[in-house]
């Protein structure tokens, strides 16, 4: 599989195409529009980071790609294609064959994703056998290889360990081994390093990046941490209140952000701010998803917002290099640093 470098979107067909995805959660009390018209592509071998705060719809988007939402209470509309699979038209049985094979997922809390009554080795071998219909010996051999690949020290011993016997970092690696056991073409990662200590997080990120390059997998990585995105992403999508408000290569978005929300998020992230001075925080809190304002969802918190922003949601504006923003005020005239108020 060729590694599509950022910016060189040639004739290669995207691995993932998501178009106008909306996800509604319906309950007796209210309907919550968690994802509101999201579109993006992921090229083969590319890492897309979806950045957002809680309630931005980043995890919901990710889980939609695996159809993990409770069926009875969720309404998904739009179009999602991964490889040759049209996700929304697959039967439940076909979807099960795709889950864990062509598309697999790692979660934030491996303790809940791993089965406590089976050893790590059994769980990996089980997944391999289910999807590849091979013998137990082959599967066991593969399990050992996988643990070596995710850099688990003394892997022979860890194969026989139960999840609770492992430390957080090792558990996360074991879950990655399970996820990678069938050589997925797309790996979905839902804040997999958020619960880890800093010294362990960086180790896991480095392993993940290396494996992604070796396998040529596409990865969609959801995080709230700009530092993690900077470490691992090729492309970055910033979500706010169910919509992607900024999208582009990691360098475009993180080094030259245009949307006031991205700028505010960067100014809010504590990283070398001057001591004793206030952090330039975004005022207010995210909107109620049960009753979104008609215009730009960020307008109530935005310093640049005017009447136009409150009337309509801005259409995407795409700059050179595919750098997309949805903001009336970010069309190039304003200098980003001023917009964020960090003069």
């Amino acid at each position: 599989m060729t590694n599509a470098m950022p910016g060189t979107q040639s004739a290669v067909r995207p691995l993932v195409e998501v178009k106008d995805l909306t996800v509604d959660f319906v309950s007796r009390d209210a309907t919550v529009r968690a994802v509101n018209g999201v579109s993006f592509d992921v090229m083969p071998g590319e890492v897309l980071c979806i950045i957002g705060e809680s309630g931005s719809g980043k995890s919901v988007t990710l889980r939609s790609l695996m159809r993990l939402h409770p069926k009875a209470r969720t309404v998904i509309a739009g179009h999602m294609r991964v490889g040759d699979y049209d996700i929304l038209s697959l039967s439940e049985k076909e979807m099960n064959a795709v889950r864990g094979a062509a598309i697999s997922m790692v979660f934030q809390e491996p303790m809940t994703a791993l089965d406590p009554v089976y050893t790590i080795g059994e769980q990996i071998a089980e997944t391999v056998m289910r999807h590849e219909r091979c013998s137990r010996e082959t599967a066991d051999k593969r399990a050992l290889e996988l643990l070596q690949m995710v850099k688990v020290p003394s892997p022979e011993r860890r194969l026989k360990a139960y999840p609770h016997e492992l430390s957080g970092g090792l558990r996360q690696r074991a879950m990655m081994a399970v996820a990678l056991s069938c050589r997925p073409t797309l790996l979905l990662a839902d804040e997999p390093t958020t619960a880890l200590d800093a010294t362990v997080q960086i180790q896991v990120l480095i392993v993940l990046r290396r494996l992604q390059e070796d396998f040529g997998m596409g990865v969609i990585f959801v995080t709230h941490d700009l530092g993690v995105a900077a470490q691992i992403a090729d492309k970055v999508a910033v979500m706010y209140a169910g919509r992607i408000v900024e999208y582009g290569t990691v360098r475009d978005v993180l080094l030259n952000p245009k949307h006031p929300y991205t700028l505010g998020l960067m100014a809010s992230t504590v990283n070398g701010q001057k001591k004793g001075e206030d952090i330039d925080a975004i005022p207010g809190s995210p909107p109620d998803l049960r009753a979104l304002p008609p215009g730009c969802s960020f307008a109530p918190r935005c310093r640049l917002a005017d009447a136009a922003c409150e009337a309509d949601f801005p259409a995407p504006v795409i700059r050179a290099g595919g750098h997309m923003t949805r903001c009336f005020k970010a069309n190039g005239e304003i200098r980003p640093m001023e917009a964020a108020g960090i003069a």
Partner: protein, 376 residues
């Protein structure tokens, strides 16, 4: 909802504090040889089979008006330390001196008095506020326990809500489930302030919040510190935040203090290899500054059976046989608060370590023992 109390609402800070007893130079809190082991029971007769050395011989002091940052990875004992200081857990050993008065000892300060002076803000989570109490009552509970009338305690609660940026007319009667994470954390802070404490222990108080909300709450903590003349002990695993908020920093590893000193000294010239690794693990928001080799490998070991000698030696790139034999200390005797000390044999010229006396920054990776060069 995030109305910051604007500066003009804040009265000028009065020098000193009406409850001050020991004077300016007396540290707010002195902790000496604090120790807490949790027994692990097991076996047929439920006998003690092992111990978790959660806090093992920890000594430090917190100066009046400063913010002491405490950093460390999970299992290093920082939360246990907070609960020991609050007397929510009984300690096995150790002395606490609050503003010159030994706590919970004859002739010293009573627990009740300590609790009026020292309060804690818990990590924001679903469990930090009573789901069945309106937030106003949660805040008013402390004062009413200390004998304030119901009406007065409520008035106090409303005043504090205003101070933490929540309009009392909108929020006083709400229940925790009707608040966002940031709003709940503001209520937690208001509750801790309800007894007019002089010192707050903030245990991962902003860690669970979204970045934009975290910044708001950090600003709020700054306002409140100036307004109420507070002393903070700020526990966090986020090194960026600790650098921003702290005057001094204490680094813990497996229940022990490995390094303590002024914040900039620690961040620019760490003396302990663990601190150095921790700092090197910070992620920058710059895709051009990616980290390609992990600063240290492995997870923190289990605190049940910590390694002999220096507890960090199993992950340390500079470990030598001496590190397994002798336990390094922060140095003997009392030392000034401005001192920068590390519990590492490298910092001690006479300890017998081959790098003894050299600064960590001057040691090139090629000089390090070989086993780490390959496993990294």
């Amino acid at each position: 909802m995030s109305l910051q109390p604007s500066e003009r609402h804040l009265q000028a800070v009065k020098p000193g504090h009406p409850h001050d007893r020991g004077g300016k130079a007396q540290p707010m809190l002195i902790v000496e040889n604090l120790k807490k082991y949790f027994p692990i029971h097991g076996g047929l007769l439920n006998r003690k089979v092992a111990e978790v050395k959660a806090v093992d011989d920890v000594s430090f002091s917190v100066l009046k008006g400063e913010t002491l940052g405490i950093v460390g990875e999970s299992g290093c004992g920082k939360s246990t330390l907070a609960r020991l200081l609050m007397h929510l857990l009984p300690r096995d050993k150790g002395t606490l001196i609050f503003d010159g008065d030994p706590v919970d000892e004859p002739r010293g300060m009573s627990l009740r008095d300590l609790r009026r002076n020292l309060q804690m803000v818990f990590q924001d989570s679903y469990s930090s506020l009573n789901p069945r109490l309106p937030i106003e009552d949660s805040i008013a509970y402390g004062p009413s326990v200390h004998g304030m009338s119901r009406a007065k305690a409520r008035a106090k609660a409303r005043e504090l809500l205003e101070k933490v940026g929540l309009r009392p007319d909108l929020f006083a009667g709400r229940y925790p489930h009707e608040l966002s994470g940031g709003q709940k954390q503001r209520v937690n802070i208001a509750r801790a302030l309800a007894l007019d404490p002089r010192m707050l222990i903030l245990d991962e108080a902003v860690s669970a919040l979204d970045k934009s909300v975290e910044a708001q709450v950090l600003n709020l903590l700054g306002y409140l510190k100036r307004h109420f003349n507070l002393t903070y002990m700020f526990i966090s695993h986020d090194l960026h935040v600790v650098r921003y908020i702290s005057d001094r920093v204490l680094v813990m590893y497996l229940g022990q203090v490995v390094e303590i000193g002024p914040v900039e000294d620690i961040y620019t010239q760490p003396k302990h290899p663990y601190t150095m690794a921790l700092l090197a693990s910070r992620l920058e928001i710059d895709p051009d500054q990616r980290i390609d080799t992990p600063p240290i490998v492995g997870d923190p070991p289990n605190p049940i059976n910590p390694p002999s000698g220096c507890r960090f030696r199993t992950r340390c790139p500079l470990a030598e046989p001496i590190c397994a034999e002798r336990t390094p200390t922060l140095g003997t005797g009392a030392f000034a608060a401005s001192d920068h000390r590390a519990a590492c044999h490298v910092t001690n010229p006479v300890a017998g370590h081959s790098f003894a006396g050299r600064s960590l920054q001057s040691i090139a990776p090629s000089e390090m023992p070989a086993r780490f060069a390959e496993s990294a």
